[in-house]
Amino acid sequence: MAPNHTIFTMLLAASLVIFAISCWRRFSLLSLGRPEDRTDDPGRRIGEMLRYAFLQQRVLAKPFGLNHFVIFWSFLVLAIANGEFLLHGVFPGISLARLPDGIYFPLLLVLDIVSLLALAAVTIAAARRTIAPPYPEARTFEAYFILSLIAILMLAYFGINAGKIAAMTGGTLNVALTWMPVSSRVAMFVLPAEGRYVHDISWWSHAFALFAFICFLPNSKHMHILTAIPNCFLRRFEKPNTLPMEEFTPENTFGVGRVDRYTWKDLLDSFSCTECGRCQLACPASITGKPLNPRGVIHDIKVNLLENGPSLKLGGTPLKSLIGQNGEGSVCEEAIWSCTTCGACMQACPVFIEQMPKIVQLRRHLVETEATFPEELLNLFENMEGRSNPWGIAPSERTKWYSQMQVRPFEKGVTDYLFYVGCAGSFDSRNKQVTVALALLLDKAGLTWGVLGKDEKCCGDSVRRLGNEYVFDRMARENVTLFRDRGVKKVIVQCPHCFSTLKNDYRQYGIELDVIHHSELLRNLVQDGRLALNGTAGDLGVLAYHDSCYLGRHNDIYDAPRQALELATGTPPVEMGRNRENAFCCGAGGGRMWMEEHTGERINITRVKEALEQRPDTICTACPYCLTMFEDGLKDVRAETVTVRDVAEVMAEAALR
């Protein structure tokens, strides 16, 4: 059947109506979410959007990203051809051929080649999905369907042109041969007499594929074509572990127990996920067999929103609970508690979906509204509230580590730095050795520093990541008041969790502290010549460095500990398979330090095995939790000849000998 512009127009109109209704159906659900401002610093937002959405920086971080890059840019370029096709279908007078030849011919060449590239890319994508999918469940009808539609569009594009070319002769044929190399090769298989049929069949195929695409797009995960670019524009600039504060007034709700308690941006995230699975491939919980899958959480939020949306819009209550074991559309409690808040999912996501804060919001609901949580946490919460440390040890014991040495109390004007020792550094017998090493180094470098002694309180990191925002809020306020009263400005910490909490979280409470992690401080002191190294800490053998999530991913400190180690040992540390931004968590973050790990392989064991692949003699950490997790893990895999040292201890070997 020859192209019929009336039928075409009617079908297009119908498709557009379906498209509009579908978009409205989904986007209007965003209004159910709570308000949140994501418009600050628009200049930076546009920059990030160009970098990540258009240049696809994060997509390209993985080898297969190149394939997506090709599809993405083909899509943009071919929008010209598809736009023309649609307009021409309705208004036959409109055609690119009206452009001057100098523009039209090169354009034909570009469209011809780009179509071939797109066809190749979708073929590769389909093959990859079949042979080596990113994760087994990725072989969905939806995925193959959309790839097939794109392939049909490309084939039909060639068919339309080939049909025309087959009937061409003389000069026009020469033009086609020059400017449409792919289409003219396809035309070689078409007899001149068949040209019309091939053209007409291709034309209708193209039309139907395009209509199907338009209708299907906003009802599938391929909606990311519409949402991914804005999602990059609307990305969060705040450190990923710093969640919004809660206001503790009786009329408020706490955390997220139903889908409309998320913000509109959280809901938009769920529409932006195209289920590439990169988050789950980076997630320590997913990898070690826990029921948590960050992609799954985002998917469940979307399904829950779509199921409950109509009822919620009418002011009703949700039909499907967000938390629980109700299959698709709800997140089970074990998944919620499996998160180490390591941030690997957010680092991996090409379109800046914020999985981890959504999980913590679910925790907040469980802890604050339901008071249900794994039983190990009851003691933790009570110890934190009662004695301001995770173990419930008497605060007076905070001074014990310096019973054998001279340590000053922090005093404004007398001591420059507050050494905020932290709970692990104060109470944990192994980590107290790190504290002593660091204290000796600070003295040797001639810094004036003091401690808060028994007045020091826990920073509250674990309770915040565990969703006990109420207790965190009180602890933070107490600490901020204490720091203000004592005139604290510059703070030395040896724990990345204290570091991140004091530096980032406490900013929400109106205090800007100059917090420095000991790995940075020690490096600076050596580089500035203030801390002299007597020898090199060479007898530590091959030394591998493990990135702490709260130092690395959450605060972008990757080089300082490495440089410090290089200064101390003379050689840069050996890198593990996954390092820096892609480092694998030790398993203790997000309050997991205080919980049992029953399901799957233990995260620290997985990481220890990865470290042992480098055959290190020493594994170096910069975090008390990592130190504990590695020492435990090494014992479990019976690799006790490998020792674990903190950066400060390695530095002490070189400086204090």
Binding site: F254, V367, R387
Partner: protein
């Protein structure tokens, strides 16, 4: 049906130190906590409330600042929180304390049809006498069931309770008519954690304060005057000083050997 949970504010004993000069507890700046055993009594009361719909009253005798303890009980879900506080109650031993608590429960008895159960922790961690619960039972003429680790059966309409008592190396199942006073051990339950909305509501909810004008007890039976026992001295027994053997970090095997030799020499290893 009313259930009364008796709770006490105690100093956080992990943080209490004894003044070496005066041999008294240094309580300055020491945080107070709810006596840990009492938290289990409170929890069981709340579970019975959830199960039977009873009303739960938490009562505590103490100084005005013990209000904080009752606020915690409110945050956990008790219906009434009553602080028995009066200068004349001060300095009480276990006898005088149980007189005051019994009087308060008797008063509650007149307000409600029936007091079914009184629950106490088995003892407090500051006094460690384990006498106040039984004292209340005697004053009120209630059955006393001590060291309860499980309520096996409870039938308010038949007025009977059957509990398991945790004794050394064995359990005893005991049945008694109501009303009864139970003292409870930690194994009874796992206390709940307060929900934030309840904490916020508790912060605004009132704690009733009953002084002796309310209870109207004779001064001879309360406070210092009503206390036949008093503490003459508190002291920490002297600790034998130890020594650090070898260097366990550098030479664990050698240090272990050293330790075994020491223990053998002192005949402290069962061989």
């Amino acid at each position: 049906m009313l259930i009364v949970a008796c709770i006490k504010q105690v100093p956080d004993t992990t943080q209490v130190q004894i003044d070496p000069v005066t041999n008294t507890l240094v309580r300055d700046g020491i945080p107070f906590i709810v006596n840990p055993y009492d938290t289990h009594a409170l929890e069981e009361s709340l579970r019975l409330k959830d199960r039977f719909g009873c009303t739960v009253a938490a009562i505590s005798m103490g100084p005005p600042n013990a209000e904080a303890t009752l606020k915690k009980a409110l945050a956990l879900g008790v219906d009434r929180a009553i602080l028995l506080s009066d200068r004349v109650f001060g300095g009480a031993d276990t006898l005088a304390t149980s007189n005051v608590l019994a009087a308060a429960i008797r008063k509650l008895h007149t307000e409600y049809d029936n007091v079914g159960l009184v629950l106490c922790g088995k003892q407090t961690i500051d006094g460690d006498t384990a006498q106040v619960g039984p004292g209340i039972a005697s004053r009120l003429g209630y059955q006393q069931l001590t060291l309860v680790d499980k309520i096996v059966d409870l039938d308010f309409s038949a007025g009977r309770i059957r509990v398991s008592r945790k004794l050394e190396g064995r359990h005893e199942i005991v049945e008694a008519p109501l009303p009864a006073m139970l003292t409870v051990v930690r194994e009874l339950n796992r206390p709940r954690y307060p929900k934030v909305p309840m904490r916020l509501a508790a912060a605004a909810a009132p704690v009733e304060v009953w002084n002796n004008q309310v209870l109207n007890l004779e001064e001879q039976s309360i406070g210092l005057k009503g206390s036949p026992t008093w503490v003459s001295k508190i002291f920490s027994p002297e600790r034998a000083t130890g020594e650090i053997l070898g260097d366990g970090y550098a030479d664990p095997d050698g240090t272990a050997k050293l330790l075994i030799e020491k223990l053998l020499a002192k005949d402290m290893l069962p061989l």
